[in-house]
Symmetry: C2
Subunit: 341 residues, 2 copies
């Protein structure tokens, strides 16, 4: 255990222990300037308040922290249900934390966990996350972290994922065999594995069918709906407009339907669409959406079961392994579903 | 502050303080039988562990607990975004707790809050919740609770709601003026205000148009998809089958589309549909779904802003009032949208 105490901070800043303690508790008795100084040093030295309470509660809070980018997404809401089914059976509380795809939020949440608020963590990284350095603090403090869906390979832990490369490959192949000559990839800018794996799968299918890949085949969206709408509108009016789209993010499929409606583009005649999506309504869209449906519930429940094992088995060492649960391509009427010779 | 301590429990049960303490911390040194005995008494006496830590942290955790039934629902995911927008600005963490529509879960979560895990609570009750007695413990301990959407009138606090009665009335009137002679109400069994208010609004519109109401007009679903599917299938094949449905729960609208597809019922020719729904995909369903769209984001942000005010203003007394933010009827092609004379 870390020997850094409140006294270390007091000595370093030449303040009383009581002042440091009050500053950390955000007391009104302490000036804002002093609070800033104390918090800055605490952060610099990686000091977590309340180590005593923390150790008392260690692995006793019976609480799992789930850190995800958002909930307006069927994948994550189904994954949560999978996590909760296991947690409930094993007597754990589940706390859900949203990063809103923001790396600073993710860092703040994980930092907060260092003081012992949760026994273990299930993490799906934000789209801004570029590496796993901010996770090391937790792991040093012996708080187990299991990744799911959006993972980083350099962290030695269990990662529960789906077969993103193969799924994107199969989906793109389906677009091509259904007649697409110019399938595009609609996604977000991100360093996430899931995105690069999907792009690689998409590229492999293009290569196999002798379709030349250029960077302009990748349409990169942001979190701003207006921006994305204009981007796609422009793309669909360009001379080299796509005749097929593999949509890598569930929420963007609604954007495509909107642009098609506004430009009077017929799906699937003028544009074929496949989306990574767990939308309940996929079958009832006009036309029904062909989807790569991910095993969201299973991914959540397997990740939770692994974490509970790590928390409850004495001397259990979390293996450094990928658990891959495959996705399923469900063909509906947004693609032509005919095999061209 | 409550004077009940761990010593009281020890004396009552004729056990050592150390045994009680270990039992409460779920130590492996204590037998299951003893743990049960200790926990039963703790519950009976309304004892929360760690009152010292609790008072230390009181209103200092900078954390808001959000308790909701589920996240597979656009209303709640949008409300969370509204809550988080305010919380972030004011420097609060948000913890999301799901009850899965289960009253025991809701009780356990609120009980857990009594030990000071959060500064204040935003609560939307489960469908099983029948009264607010389980909330009194929190309020006694001076943890502010603000209700949103699914509220109970007998708790003296702010309730942020939408105009359920008027919305259901307007939606039903829209069905009737579009030609429905036999509009039904699709919902869940529940004591929740939102359901009874919507039913009352529905009934008022029927009465105004001299359509006789009978209990069989209300179709009550459960949490079991299979059961609901069979129920609606049977209803739609009966002699007095509905020619219009006001769907009170977003997720049930997908069920109606499924049953219509399977029975080859044409929407809106054979059946007109309006649903309380914040679905992103409503416009792109086949046909596009007429919705009562709730101000979910605003309800969340107003509830959060009120809670933060209660937490930060000294001597602020939470008023006993309803804040009503109206919903909007968005007419799409699942209803005929013609005014009959």
């Amino acid at each position: 255990m870390d020997k850094l105490t409140i006294k270390t901070l007091a000595k370093e800043l030449q303040l009383s222990v009581s002042t440091i303690s009050k500053a950390l508790r955000d007391s009104h008795e302490i000036s804002a300037a002093t609070k800033r100084k104390v918090l800055a040093l605490a952060e610099q030295l990686n000091y977590s308040p309340n180590p005593y309470a923390s150790s008392l509660r260690k692995r006793k809070s019976k609480t799992i922290g789930v850190v995800i980018p958002e909930v307006v997404n069927s994948f994550f809401s189904q994954a949560i249900n999978g996590i909760e089914s296991v947690a409930k059976e094993k007597g754990y509380h589940v706390l859900i934390y949203l990063t809103h795809e923001n790396l600073d939020n993710e860092k703040a949440i994980l930092k907060d966990f260092e003081s012992g608020r949760v026994d273990g963590v299930l993490l799906s990284a934000s789209r801004e996350t570029i590496n796993s350095t901010h996770i090391s603090g937790l792991i040093k403090k012996d708080v187990p972290v299991i990744f799911f869906d959006r993972v980083f390979d350099d962290v030695e832990t269990v990662k529960v994922i789906t077969n993103d490369f193969e799924s994107a490959y199969t989906a793109t192949k389906h677009l091509i065999t259904s007649g697409c000559k110019n399938p595009h990839f609609l996604s977000i800018i991100s360093n996430l594995n899931i995105i690069s794996n999907r792009i690689d799968g998409y590229k492999k299918a293009l290569q196999e069918h002798h379709i030349k890949f250029s960077n302009s085949n990748i349409i990169n969206c942001t979190t701003n709906w207006e921006h994305n709408y204009k981007l796609l509108l422009k793309k669909m009016q360009s001379s080299k407009k796509p005749d097929g789209i593999l949509c890598s993010i569930e929420n963007l499929s609604v954007l495509i339907y909107q642009v098609c409606e506004d430009l009077n583009i017929k799906i699937p005649d003028d544009l074929q669409i496949v989306s990574f999506s767990n939308l309940d309504t996929a079958s009832f869209l006009n036309p029904p959406l062909t989807t790569v449906t991910q095993p969201a519930y299973e991914i959540g429940s397997v990740a939770a079961a692994t974490l509970v094992k790590a928390l409850e088995k004495k001397n259990f060492i979390i293996p450094n392994e990928n658990i891959v649960i495959p996705s399923v391509l469900i063909k509906r009427k947004s693609t032509k579903n005919k095999i061209l010779s």
